[in-house]
Symmetry: C2
Subunit: 199 residues, 2 copies
């Protein structure tokens, strides 16, 4: 087969996060990596399964991880990956670089912004859906933090979990505030103090 363009391009964002997950020492399959990555979703939207499979393959090609086929759960064969020293250097370098701004796409805020294009019921539905989603995130995050236990290894994870809890609580309060304002149909009351102070 034709060897792909010789430059084994440096890992993508997703690739780097996978390296990060492998930096905790375990040897993981693509599927397991995806499950781990899901636990970052509170502050880092999870990639698609297929993306994980492809990325981890590229990481192996680039020498950032080593791979081997193993048999698990009886007959089932799967590929598992382990971080190499090259891989660890790569994540470290990536993380040490300047962060760049967060990416944020907030469909509910967008709907409020374009409120003149929605009837009250639809907007209401969007708000409610967001509230439910926040509730879900909060309870999931609380569960996760509980699972982390007292292991010193997860000190940073728990720090981030605390950050996330604050964020989702604020978001919940804010969206409820917005809902109230819209219910009242109030205009003058829709100023800063209403929603900002809640959060």
């Amino acid at each position: 087969m034709a060897p792909s363009p010789l430059a084994p391009a440096s890992p993508t964002q997703t690739g780097h996060t996978l390296l990060g997950l492998l930096s905790f020492g375990s040897e993981l399959s693509a599927y397991e990596l995806k499950r781990w990555a899901d636990n970052l979703r509170f502050f880092w939207s999870a990639p698609a399964m297929s993306q994980v499979y492809r990325e981890v393959e590229r990481l192996a090609e680039g020498g950032y991880v080593s791979s081997r086929r193993v048999v698990r759960d009886g007959t089932r064969e799967t590929t598992v990956y382990r971080l190499t020293t090259a891989g660890e250097s790569a994540v470290r370098a990536w993380l040490a670089a300047s962060p760049g701004p967060p990416v944020l796409k907030h469909p509910v805020a967008l709907r409020v912004f374009f409120g003149h294009l929605l009837d009250a019921a639809d907007l209401r539905r969007a708000i409610d859906a967001h509230r439910a989603w926040c509730d879900r995130m909060l309870s999931d995050l609380e569960d996760l933090r509980r699972e982390l236990g007292d292991d010193e290894r997860w000190r940073n994870a728990k720090l981030v979990a605390g950050w996330g809890l604050g964020y989702y609580r604020g978001e919940l309060a804010a969206v409820e505030g917005i809902g109230d304002v819209l219910d009242v149909g109030a205009v003058g009351a829709a100023n800063d103090e209403g929603s900002a102070d809640i959060a």
Copy 2:
């Protein structure tokens, strides 16, 4: 059946937001649309310039907007776009649909999570960068809200601006809290209450 190449696929997310921006009635060029879109960046990360050019072209092909060439500022010719009734229906329908979860990629939270791969100075830098970024967002957002003035037309925009201010204030407080914890190198103090109560 194979999707015909002739079928002008329905607009992308970015396409729909552009339609939304055009729903305020103005006839705008791609460049102007990009500038408008930048003002949504507080809750909806702005697309690249080139993306706006391409999307708006596709919108024109699909009949969601009408386009015409005009001369502006002397000799310069440019294409300006106006929302069609088809376009308005499309945004309305898009917005009325169920929101789907927000997309979030928070590089600083990620760095904290992977803190074991960074030395203290680099982590510190990331935290500081984020604080500066939040400051910037806050002042930009305050400016923007001021510019919106008392125009009834921007009622929803101001509502969202208030939401955003709350969010960025919370984020700022949280990141400062994290910074403090890291400075102290404290472990036991890094629990929930620290960051959650701040936000």
